[in-house]
């Protein structure tokens, strides 16, 4: 798979799809999604985080950003599972250092829609 390199606002090459996919897979392998989430199709949480240049997630930077306020405890639980996933699989050392500005701040959507639900 090839990806076009598009210049960013700062003049550097943008992250390629494989590079983004690497981050996604890195988080995914640590996302112990809550088993038996009720009505998983209704649930989706987005959190933001800052990564250090080493690829380590900065724990204190992790914040829920959507939905806010959280409608019920299931969303909080999903957010916490996502936070754990981000921290457990850190550092994300495969991200290209020269593109740090592009992955320094991330938003991660945890969407359990297709997973086991009741």
């Amino acid at each position: 798979m090839t990806s076009a390199h598009v210049d960013t606002a700062e003049g550097g090459a943008s992250l390629t799809e494989p590079e983004k996919n690497g981050l996604r897979l890195g988080v995914q392998r640590c996302w112990n999604a809550p088993a038996d989430l009720r009505d998983a199709h209704e649930l989706k949480v987005t959190l933001s985080a800052e990564l250090a240049a080493s690829g380590d997630v900065i724990n204190a930077s992790i914040r829920p950003i959507e939905p806010l306020p959280m409608p019920d405890a299931r969303f909080q639980q999903l957010y916490e599972a996502g936070r754990r996933a981000l921290i457990r699989c850190s550092p994300y050392g495969d991200l290209p250092r020269e593109k740090y500005a592009q992955w320094r701040n991330i938003e991660v959507v945890f969407n359990p829609e297709g997973m086991v639900s009741w």
């Binding site: 960013t8 606002a9 700062e10 992250l15 983004k20 981050l23 996604r24 988080v27 995914q28 392998r29 640590c30 996302w31 112990n32 999604a33 809550p34 088993a35 038996d36 009720r38 933001s48 724990n59 992790i62 019920d72 405890a73 299931r74 969303f75 909080q76 639980q77 999903l78 916490e80 996502g82 936070r83 754990r84 996933a85 921290i87 457990r88 500005a101 592009q102 992955w103 320094r104 701040n105 991330i106 938003e107 991660v108 959507v109 945890f110 969407n111 359990p112 829609e113 297709g114 997973m115 086991v116 009741w118």
Partner: protein, 442 residues
């Protein structure tokens, strides 16, 4: 402070001037979406709760173990065994050695302390997110008699479960059931009541008369059942641990298959009428009786919806045994089951979204669930005889009984979760059937 500063800037500077430089210089966050993960029980560690003094040592150990058993029994959590622990917790207020718990991949940590003073016990606990190095909610404390230490443990486990799943727990609850003993053709049956995990069983009847279908009230203070003490089936009620009995209806004819309304004030049941059976509702003293169905068919096994406004029941009015829903005030009934086979013993989920049932098809019995409109039918179990589902207080788990064939066979109570996983036998000592699960105790 930061928010206040931003607000003052936004007010003091024209928005276009203030925002333009950031719009060009700021790098938008990298956004990714995670749609798959690993589904496995969450590993947790529960080092022994710290006893506040020697008198609490034994109780602290037992409470810790019941908390662990409750959580592991859900199938959603896995205990990291104590032999793998690196850190030792010798004080409830000591700092948590997160690195040590992280090293053994414990994602959640439960720490606690137990004190005993005379016949009173007190348990305190905290729940931690090991990787975030942060408490999950506030620490809590429960007090009770030392004799009720299992309830204290269940309450701790309920809180942990709720905090980790976002759902209410179901551990501090009771189950009424029929205990059966003796040879298969002459079973001695007693109404019993036990904790949800089979502990603390108490017999409420003496076995001198045949008893069937115990139905426990949500607060576990009363049990309805069908008794053959007078020769014909009659709906009876046990109160105060079985000391008092009240005939729920002294109407002529046979009465059977009772269920409490969600608030425990009313009872819906069946009464034989001619060659059939109809549904009736009355208050628990037998007054205010309303007949819900009329006809020559057999209408039975009624159960209220959680709001008390509707009733689901089984009926052969259409030629085969199927499930119907109607208003608890009477009126027309709507059929909701349309699959192959026969349907029986429907019971509404406490959450109101699902109905569990027994299905008989292809020579096998199944426990299944469907949405309240009959759609989305899903069979959770299947065997020689699986029958009589009852819901956990949170609507996530079902109990039922499974009868084994053969001369030495008999019924045993099982639990299964709503996805059909985590099938477990509930330990009851001897044969047991007809479980009826209370709500969470207060």
């Amino acid at each position: 402070m930061v928010d206040r500063l931003r607000r003052s800037l936004a007010i003091g500077v024209p928005a276009a001037l203030a925002l333009r430089p950031f719009a060009t210089a700021a790098q938008a966050p990298l956004r990714i979406e995670i749609t798959e993960g690993v589904i496995e029980p969450m590993p947790f560690a529960a080092p022994g709760f710290v006893p506040d003094g020697g008198a609490a040592t034994d109780v602290a150990a037992r409470i810790t173990q019941v908390v662990i058993d409750d959580l592991v029994g859900t199938g959603l959590f896995r205990e990291v065994p104590r032999s793998a622990h690196i850190a030792r917790v010798s004080s409830f207020d000591a700092p948590v050695a997160f690195a040590d718990w992280k090293a053994i991949n414990a994602q959640a940590l439960i720490t606690g302390a137990v004190g005993v003073s005379g016949d009173r016990a007190q348990v305190r606990f905290r729940l931690w997110d090991v990787f975030a190095q942060a408490p999950l909610g506030e620490g809590l404390q429960f007090d009770g008699s030392t004799a009720s230490w299992r309830r204290l443990a269940h309450k701790v486990a309920d809180q942990v479960y709720a905090r980790l799943t976002g759902e209410t727990g179901y551990f501090d609850s009771r189950v009424a059931f029929v205990a059966a003993s003796g040879p298969k053709q002459a079973r001695r049956k007693q109404i019993g009541i036990m904790d949800y995990d089979g502990a603390n069983p108490v017999m409420l009847t003496d076995g001198s008369a045949l008893v069937l279908t115990p139905r426990i009230a949500a607060d576990a203070r009363r049990v309805l059942f069908t008794s053959y003490a007078s020769g014909a089936p009659k709906v009876m009620m046990l109160e105060g641990g079985g000391r008092a009995r009240t005939v729920i209806s002294d109407a002529s004819g046979m009465t059977f298959a009772p269920r409490f309304s969600p608030n425990g004030a009313r009872v819906v049941y069946s009464r034989s009428v001619g060659t059939g059976a109809d549904l009736f509702v009355s208050d628990i003293g037998g007054g205010g009786q309303v007949q819900l169905t009329r006809g020559s068919s057999i209408n039975t096994a009624p159960a209220f919806s959680p709001d008390g406004n509707r009733v689901v029941f089984e009926s052969d009015r259409g030629g085969t045994q199927q499930l119907y829903v109607m208003s608890a005030a009477g009126g027309e009934a709507s059929r909701i089951s349309f699959g192959d086979g026969r349907y029986a013993t429907p019971v509404w989920s406490p959450r109101g979204d699902m109905i569990a049932f027994t299905k008989i098809a292809g020579g096998r019995f199944h426990i299944g669930v469907m949405r309240q409109d009959g759609s989305g039918e899903k069979l959770l179990t299947g065997s020689y005889i699986d029958e009589g589902p009852t819901w956990a207080p949170n609507g996530r788990v079902l109990m039922f009984f499974r009868e084994s064939p053969g001369a030495g066979g008999g019924p045993q109570i099982y639990s299964v979760d709503i996805t059909g996983r985590n099938l477990r036998r509930v330990p009851t000592g001897g044969f047991a059937s007809d479980p009826s699960w209370s709500g969470l105790l207060s």
